[in-house]
Symmetry: C2
C-alpha cells in the first residue's frame, strides 16, 4: 500500500503553528482511501513536522490533493513553510496497516 514518510519544515519559530494545521486532518472526516495520517515531531529537529501517511493507492493520494479541504489547508500552511527543508521517503506498506 502506498506510504509516505516525510518532513515538512516550518520557518523558524513557526513549527507549532504548522503542527496545528497538519493535525486538523486527524479531527476531520477521513479522506477517501486514507488509512493512516500520522503527524509527529522529532525532539532533535526544531523546525520539522513529520507526516506518515498510508493510502490504498497512489491515485487515492493524488486525488486527495485536489479536494477543497486539502487545497485550503495547503494554502494556509504555505506562508509558514520553508520549502527547502522538504524531505520524503516513499514506501510500500506490507503489514500492519490500520483497518
Amino acid at each position: 500500500m502506498f506510504m509516505l514518510h516525510g518532513r515538512l519544515s516550518a520557518q523558524p519559530g513557526k513549527r507549532d503553528e504548522l503542527l496545528a494545521i497538519l493535525a486538523e486532518e486527524d479531527q476531520a472526516e477521513r479522506l477517501p482511501g486514507c488509512r493512516l495520517y500520522l503527524v509527529a515531531v522529532d525532539g532533535t529537529d526544531a523546525d520539522g513536522v513529520w507526516v506518515t501517511e498510508v493510502w490504498e493507492s497512489e491515485d487515492a493520494h493524488t486525488a486527495s490533493l485536489q479536494l477543497d479541504r486539502v487545497t485550503e489547508q495547503i494554502a494556509r500552511a504555505l506562508p509558514i513553510l520553508d520549502t527547502t527543508g522538504f524531505r520524503r521517503q516513499q514506501l510500500d506498506a506490507r503489514a500492519g496497516v490500520p483497518g
Copy 2:
C-alpha cells in the same frame, strides 16, 4: 506518543525472509500499549525493511522487548540481519494515532 521509524537491514538476498518474520506481528494478538506496528519496504532499498511503531509510552515499548513472543522473533531474525544497516528515528506522535 512514543514513535519509532526505523530500518532493519537484511543480509543480501534475505530481505523477504526478514519481512515475513516482522510481518507476523500484524497477525498476532496486539502487544500491550502498541497502537501501530507498520512494516514496509522502500523500492530504492533492496535490503531494508522499515518498521514504523507507535506506543502509548516508551516504557510500553521497552516492556515489549521482554515478552517471550518478541524475544523469540528477534532470535529468528538475528541470523539474517546486517546489524551495521540499522537506523532509527525517534519521534513524538501528536495526531492521527490509530485508536
